[in-house]
């Protein structure tokens, strides 16, 4: 039964049913709740006892999620030049756009006067990263990309989640053309 409140057309009083004894003593509801969990308990227990997995969760790292989207981009890489050096010119566009401010770059003079500038330090603090992909979009030379993988973000301290230049360059392409030649957005 509901009553309209004068002057407040959107609001109404609701008369809840008075709680009877069966609810007041709680036991019925408790047994109903326990019954549900007990069903789960014995079903899962039976699965475990018959050498099957009795849980819906994933035993990481033995198992990994198979239902990861193909659009998932979870790992940063630095694209290499043909000599293995990063293509990055340390322009700090990614560091500037990064909403989590997790990219640290320090530039240095390159030996090659055609390249001039290259990163001396390139670190992504993946414990801060929010995987928005802005860095990939901001990069003017297509030097940073994100792969459809998950970065194995585990470590005993947060400093292990800082990926440095070597780690970011450690990804080796299967199709070398893809990396050596730039990605042309107009093509």
């Amino acid at each position: 039964m509901a009553y309209q409140i004068p002057n407040f057309p959107d609001m109404e009083y609701v008369d809840r049913k008075k709680r009877g004894l069966t609810i007041q003593v709680y036991y019925r509801e408790i047994f109903r709740g326990v019954w549900i969990t007990t069903k789960h308990f014995f079903r899962n227990l039976w699965k475990w006892l018959t050498f099957r997995k009795g849980g819906v969760v994933i035993l990481y790292p033995e198992e990994t999620r198979a239902d990861m989207s193909p659009n998932n981009r979870g790992r940063h890489i630095l694209v290499q030049r043909s000599n293995g050096q990063p293509r990055c010119v340390a322009c700090k566009m990614c560091a500037t756009i990064c909403p989590a401010q997790c990219i640290t770059i320090e530039a240095e003079e390159s030996e090659d006067p055609k390249i001039q500038k290259r990163p001396q330090v390139f670190e992504i603090d993946l414990s801060h990263c929010i995987f928005c992909g802005f860095c990939v979009e901001a990069c003017p030379v297509d030097a940073i990309r994100m792969l459809p993988e998950t970065s194995e973000l585990v470590g005993y301290d947060r400093f292990r989640m800082v990926y440095d230049k070597e780690k970011l360059l450690s990804w080796h392409p299967t199709v070398s053309d893809d990396v050596v030649h730039g990605y042309n957005p107009n093509a």
Binding site: A90, C91, T96, A107, E108, Q116, K117, P140, V141
Partner: protein, 484 residues
């Protein structure tokens, strides 16, 4: 002076006769884009970016080369002018390499800004761009990138008109043109060389000390006054994370126009190695409060025997408090000194008739204003005193015996090592206050970086006065300035 009235975009403006049209427009709030024109340089009119249409004139005119005339009707926002600007930008960008990612100028580049504001077109240029020298050292200070250069000739005019060394010139013709020095010459001995990098509209000339150090949009600009000499050039101190990355002149027609010398920049960029730190009594670190109370009681007891040596690096506000202190205590022996640090470290006396002054202290005029009776330290009769409060570096007291020294200084020198009481002070980049330059112009400056393990002299004097039971004139720079 005769005044003329003209119409710009339907707005009637009145300016003195002889003013250039570009200045007349800018004074009245109409910005005309430009590359080669600079307020403090002779116009050259080669970039054509400032073309405007003037009625009854068959062709668009460069506003930087056109003096105003009575009854002139000028249009700067017509579609025709916009088309001209687009065309000029497209022409300039034909051979511009667009290496903004590695260009230190990116972010404050006039070409970037004006392209974004006045053009925004895509390139139609399919041919190969002209390749030129990418990395050419004009000595140790300046790096020249010929590809980025738009040949505005500002740098050439700066060496011609400001530093008067005539070192730079433009060689070759057409798209082969480039800025060059005489064979074998460098810009290292030009004391205004860094001005060409500040005023280069693109990233063609960049200073080596700032090369690839930081992108300009990360820098925090603090208005300050150069403490390198008594000229008091207005500067921007550009910092990030408490580190000075760059120093650039701040425009002030009365003092330094748009220029400053390289020594002034190096004064800030390469911080001195002999910075003082901590607070000590008998060469042992003590609590700051203890230091204040000991110095206060010492000054109270030995007022007659104490000499007070002023620092010409002190701000006017600190000098005000120092004056209050000496007047309260009745200290008679007040001296000023020319700090010798600069001269000693460089081994030469630098002076020219452009900006650089022989007096390397920033606030000698302020000292003389605050303490007209102060005598030169060289006239000091040592035997009259037992104690000396030495403020600032460079006092010639290191060879003197029989004086207990209380040194408040930002620098370590012989006097600092000899002193019984030491308090590390701050350099002007770490302070807030004002300097009075040799012409008597008082200029405020702000604190750009935080001092590490040193103490603001202003706070020290406030604490000292409180310890002596006196209400200081003010506790902050603002309060002192308001009280004056």
């Amino acid at each position: 002076m005769k005044e003329v009235t003209l119409t710009v975009d339907g707005k009637k403006i009145t300016v003195p006769a002889g003013t250039l049209l570009i200045d007349a427009c800018e004074q009245n709030g109409i910005y005309i884009p430009r590359f080669c024109y600079h307020k403090h340089l002779f116009p050259s009119g080669n970039c054509r970016m400032c073309l405007v249409t003037i009625e009854k004139n068959p062709k668009p005119q460069p506003s930087c080369m056109t003096p105003v005339a009575d009854g002139m009707v000028v249009h700067t926002n017509t579609p025709e002018v916009a088309e001209i600007r687009k065309a000029v930008l497209e022409f300039i960008l034909i051979n511009h390499p667009l290496d903004c990612p590695i260009c230190d100028k990116a972010g404050e580049c006039m070409l970037q800004d004006q392209y974004m504001e006045f053009s925004g077109d895509k390139s139609r240029f399919n041919e190969t761009k002209v390749a030129k020298e990418k990395l050419y050292h004009f000595g140790e200070k300046i790096v020249y990138d010929a590809e980025r250069c738009i040949l505005c000739s500002r740098c050439v005019r700066i060496t011609r008109e400001v530093s008067k060394t005539n070192k730079l010139g433009i060689l070759e013709r057409g798209d082969r043109s480039y800025v060059a020095l005489a064979h074998g010459d460098t810009l290292d001995d030009d004391p205004y060389a860094y001005c060409v990098t500040d005023n280069c509209p693109v990233g063609a000339l960049t200073p080596t000390y700032f090369r690839f150090k930081e992108r300009v949009w990360y820098l925090h600009k603090t208005p300050s006054v150069c403490a390198g000499c008594s000229r008091g050039c207005n500067i921007w101190i550009e910092t990030k994370d408490n580190v000075i990355y760059r120093v650039r002149p701040r425009e002030n027609d009365a003092v330094n126009k748009s220029w400053m010398c390289d020594f002034g920049r190096e004064y800030y960029i390469y911080p001195p190695k002999n910075r003082a730190a901590g607070v000590k009594i008998n060469h042992r670190a003590v609590d700051y409060g203890k230091f204040v109370s000991e110095v206060a009681s010492l000054l109270k007891e030995h007022t007659k025997e104490t000499a007070f040596v002023l620092s010409a690096y002190a701000t006017n506000e600190e000098l005000t408090l120092a004056k209050q202190l000496t007047e309260h205590l009745g200290i008679k022996g007040i001296f000023h000194k020319k700090d010798r640090v600069w001269q000693e470290s460089t081994g030469e006396i630098r002076e020219d008739d452009i900006l650089i002054k022989e007096d390397k202290t920033p606030n000698m005029a302020g000292v003389k204003n605050a303490f007209p009776d102060a005598k030169d330290i060289n006239d000091m009769v040592i035997s009259d005193f037992k104690y000396a409060v030495v403020w600032g570096p460079g006092a010639p007291l290191d060879k003197v015996s029989g004086l207990e020294l209380i040194v408040i200084s930002a620098m370590v020198d012989q006097v600092w090592d000899k002193a019984k009481y030491n308090l590390a002070g701050r350099i002007s980049a770490e302070k807030h206050g004002s300097f009075t330059n040799f012409e008597g112009i008082t200029q405020d400056f702000r604190r750009a970086i935080k001092g590490e393990n040193n103490y603001d002299e202003l706070t020290f004097f406030v604490d000292l006065l409180k310890e002596l039971g006196v209400k200081p004139i003010g506790r902050t720079v603002q309060e002192i300035q308001n009280a004056k």
